[in-house]
Structures are given as C-alpha cells and as structure tokens.
C-alpha cells in the first residue's frame, strides 16, 4: 500500500488542510505532540479511542481516516480537476468527496475518462485526414490536371496564329487532361461521400479489390477448369464493386493468377488431396509439383465449406500488404504497418526457409491460437541494376488440437492498436495501452 494511503498520512493531510498545528491537535485529543508526530509518519499504529478522537477533532468520519477512499478513484478525480483547469473544484477535498459520494465520484471520473477518449479519437481522425495518402494523392492529381488544362487552354486562346499542328496537339492534351480530371474529381467525390458515412473506409483501388474479392468469398467457380481469358473479363465487367480503372487493373492481375493456379492445380484434384491429407501445403506440393506459394493461394481460394477457414496475407519486400484474405481471430492492418513479429516478415530475411509457427494475437477476444505457415518467393530475379524482388505469403489456419498446450508466439496486428507492453518491436505508442 502506498504511503500516502496510510492512516497516519491521512491524519496529517487532514490536519494540514484544516490549518491546525500538530501541537494543538495533540492537545485536543490528549496525546503528546511527539506521539502524534510518530502517528502522522506512520511509525505508530493507532486505533480505538485515539482514532475516534482524532476524527472528531478533524471533523471527518473515522472510516475516512482508517480506510480512506479508493486511491485510483481519488487519482482520477484529481486528474479530472486538473484537466479542466481551475474551475473551482475543491482539490483538497477530493478524498472527502469520494468518501461521501462514491457513486457521483465514479460517475465524474468515468465521464472525464470518456472526454479524454473522445478527444483522442478526434485527434486521430484529424490526423488521418491531414496525412491520408489517398486523399493527398487524389488532390495532387486534380491540381496537376487543372494546371495542365489552364496552361494549355490559355496558349490556345492567347497565341496568335498558332500553327495547326500545335493547335491539334494542344486540343488533344486538353482532352486527355480533362478526362483525367473527371476521373480524379469522381474519386474525390467518392472519398468525401464515403467519409460522411459512419463505417466508411477510404476507397483506394486496393480497397475496391479487397471488397470485390471478399464479396466473392475469394472463390471464383467461373475461373475453375481451364477457362479462357474471356471468362475473366466477364467477371471484371460484371462487378459493380470495381469502380476505378486502377482497381480493375489490380483485380485483373489477381484473377489471372487465379486462373493460372486453377489450371495447374485443378479444383477436383485439390479437393481430393485436401480430403485425404487435410489442408497441407506440403502434400499439395507433392501431388502437383508446384511451389509452396501456389499451394498457399489455392488453399485460400477453395470454398470454405470444403477446407474450413483459411486466411492468407501477402506482402512485398517493403512490408506493404498486397493481398489479404481475412481470418477471424487474426486482425490485419489495411496496407502497411503490420506487426513485424509475424512470420510473414521473417521469411523475407531467409527466403529459402519456410516458417511454421503458432501465433496468438494480443488484444483479441478469446485469443485463439492461430497456425501460421509462411514462405517467400522471388517474383523478379536479381540484376546488377537492382536486387531480386520478393513476395512473402502467410497462410493462417485455426490451431485446433495442435494449439492445446504448445506455447504460441505473442504478436500484434499493428502497433497503434496493440496492447502488448514492453515489446521490443514496438515502433509507435499504442492507443490501447494509453487508453484510446
């Protein structure tokens, strides 16, 4: 128990607060000043009659001296008072207040905490708006096109006797830029409309692709069984989730890979391997002679009722997440800033060594263990101009029986929302530890 909460200390505080000299108080209760001094410094235990007389002389309930009010509550009250400035809260009487009106005191403390939470939320949101890379990019795009249009159009208007070749060239430029401007403006409007709704995520092209894949459960029956390119284009053109060109282009890349994988690892054969051996990437590699990354992608593309829940997350060498198939029980941040303790990043350092690890993500309700399998692959070979380009993939399964007693690696999702304390990998303070 901290000294400040000890009975002697409380007597001393109370006496000083009431402006009574130690010798006067001692006389009032009939003890020697030096004895009172020992009591006040917690060097003598007191009880019974002396306590009652002291409480009486100090005009407080004896229990307030003997038990004090709840320390954390008082600290919270003092903090609330100090945050609001000197608006007349009787700081010196916090303990008395907490002791006499514990309900009100708790309410006040929790309201103050709530105010603090909300202030921090507002700060975070403001921060997000100022530093939002997608918003900044859209604005930059719009301003660039406007600049080109303004400059070009005034050349057309102001230059006398402009040669026809130049004229048509500048007309073409204006036409080009204005369609770019229209697209940029549309993206901005979409962003701002989105920002107004409660659950709005900023719709970057990556977000659109993510929504598109999730909407299809990451499984595309129309791409199974050696279909040609037109099947793929049909899917893209029928989607009303993919709005921007950029998103459509990204989705086309993902679906082409899907089609190639589906050709190499046909659905029926995959299902029979999984039925026999479970969702084991090693067995799939054996059966089809493919690489682990293809086995990972294929497992994550199987219908959930056939294979159970499977998550997949991929990143490039910068650690930016480029593919996310969500997995319940394992949160993944939207693009960058994932927890560096994930095996996903470990395999980037040793690309030839796949990693298998049991993970437990801090701050998840239930905190079920997750089985993670990670592997890196080279997507472009090294040259003397630039190093090899790597992608890393991490497959996630429920740990199931394997999870039992085996210790799991404690990881986070991203530092900002991770409650792990004293983590050597932390790169920014958590809003959870400090109370969002």
């Amino acid at each position: 128990m901290p000294e400040s909460l000890m009975i002697g200390t409380r007597i001393r505080e109370r006496r000083v607060m009431n402006g009574i000299k130690q010798s006067d108080l001692a006389r009032q209760v009939g003890i020697s000043p030096s004895y009172l001094n020992l009591i006040e410094h917690n060097r003598r235990r007191i009880g019974g009659k002396t306590l009652l007389r002291l409480a009486d002389a100090l005009h407080v309930e004896p229990t307030l001296l003997s038990e004090g009010a709840e320390a954390t509550l008082i600290a919270a009250l003092r903090e609330a008072a100090s945050r609001q400035g000197k608006d007349g809260a009787e700081l010196a009487r916090s303990e008395e207040f907490a002791g006499r009106f514990p309900g009100w005191a708790h309410l006040l403390a929790s309201l103050s905490r709530r105010v603090q939470d909300l202030e921090r939320t507002v700060e975070t949101l403001t921060d997000r708006l100022t530093h939002d890379p997608h918003l900044a990019a859209s604005l930059h795009e719009v301003i660039s096109t406007v600049t080109a249009i303004r400059s070009t159009s005034s050349i057309l208007v102001e230059t006398e006797a402009l040669e026809p070749e130049w004229q048509s060239r500048f007309h073409r430029n204006i036409n080009e830029e204005s369609s770019r401007l229209a697209e940029g403006a549309e993206a901005l409007v979409r962003y701002l409309e989105g920002a107004a709704s409660i659950e709005a995520e900023i719709r970057s092209p990556q977000d659109e692709v993510q929504a598109f894949l999730a909407g299809n459960g990451f499984h595309f029956p129309a791409l199974e069984g050696g279909v040609d390119e037109t099947a793929l284009e049909d899917i893209l053109s029928q989607s009303d989730v993919l709005v921007s060109d950029a998103a459509r282009r990204l989705a086309r890349g993902t679906l082409s890979q899907y089609r190639a994988d589906a050709h190499r690892l046909p659905l029926d054969d995959m299902l029979s391997v999984v039925a026999e051996h479970g969702p084991s990437p090693d067995r799939i590699v054996e059966a089809f002679g493919c690489g682990l990354p293809a086995a990972f992608r294929r497992l994550a593309a199987l219908p959930e009722d056939a294979v159970g829940p499977v998550g997949l997350v991929s990143c490039d060498g910068s650690g930016t997440l480029i593919f996310r198939k969500p997995f319940s029980g394992f949160a993944m941040p939207r693009d960058a800033g994932a927890c560096v303790l994930w095996p996903l990043f470990q395999v980037l350092v040793q690309p030839q060594v796949p990693v298998r690890a049991l993970l437990r993500q801090a701050g998840r309700r239930g905190r079920d263990k997750v089985l993670a399998l990670a592997v890196a692959e080279q997507v472009a070979p090294a040259t003397f101009e630039r190093p090899a380009l790597l992608h890393a993939h991490m497959l996630l399964f429920p740990a199931g029986a394997e999870g039992g007693e085996t210790p799991a690696r404690e990881v986070g999702s991203s530092c900002r929302i991770c409650p792990l304390r004293e983590c050597p990998a932390r790169r920014e303070p958590s809003i959870m530890v400090d109370g969002f």
């Binding site: 604005l139 930059h140 301003i143 660039s144 406007v146 600049t147 080109a148 303004r150 400059s151 070009t152 005034s154 050349i155 102001e158 230059t159 130049w166 060239r169 500048f170 430029n173 080009e176 830029e177």
Partner: protein, 122 residues
C-alpha cells in the same frame, strides 16, 4: 535572348505547355522528368534558370534543390519551385532548401513568364 532554362517536371502535358510558352518567349528550353538523376541533368545542361517541381518520381524536389545548392558551381543558379500546395510549411521548406522563388499550381502562363524573366534580370 539566349537564356537556357531547365524544366524538371513529371506531368507530360504541363511540360509541353510550359516548354511552349517559354520557347515562344525566346528561351532555350530543356526538360527532365524524373527525380533520380535530376542533379546530373542540371550539371550537364548548365542552365541559367531551373524550374523544379516538388513532387517528382524518385526524389522530392526539396532534396534535389538541396543537392543543387550543395554543388559549389550551382549555388547561384536561380531556382523556381513549383508545388501543388500553397501551405506555409511548403513555402518555408522551399526557402530553407534555397529556392529563389516559389509558385503554386495552378499558375497562369503570364505569371510564369513574368517570374522567370525577373529571375534572370530581364
């Protein structure tokens, strides 16, 4: 007039428009469109004036400007910075990095001509 200007900018249609008005005004216009080797371009071209965009692929205009100013032969070359943001912070950064003038997009052609002329004392 035989003044050489180097325009470092990555938007092709802005390059075309600005090159056009400057060359019609009698400037010898050279262009360069990425950040990586912008400094090499400046050294090779030896321009009388540099127009430098802040947002370039590969390297920011501020960094390039710092490199230019660090080169003893280029400390005096006038540099006009172009930016899409008129924020004071950017203006400060441009001044600190050693920009001679600063212009916010979108600009008018007349403005560009007037500023670059005054920068080389025309």
């Amino acid at each position: 007039m035989d003044k050489k200007v180097l325009l470092i900018e990555d938007e092709p249609n802005i390059i075309e428009a600005v090159s056009f008005i400057l060359s019609r005004d009698g400037w010898n216009v050279k262009t360069h469109s990425n950040g990586h080797d912008a400094l090499d371009a400046v050294r090779n071209r030896q321009p009388d004036l540099i127009i430098l965009d802040v947002m370039l692929p590969g390297k920011s205009g501020f960094d390039i400007l710092q490199e230019i100013r660090a080169d003893s032969e280029l400390t005096q070359t006038p540099v006009l910075m172009l930016t899409a943001r008129g924020q004071e912070k950017d203006r400060d950064m441009a001044e600190k990095a050693g920009a001679s003038r600063y212009m916010t997009k979108p600009f008018s052609n007349a403005e560009v001509l007037e500023v670059v002329r005054s920068m080389v004392g025309l």
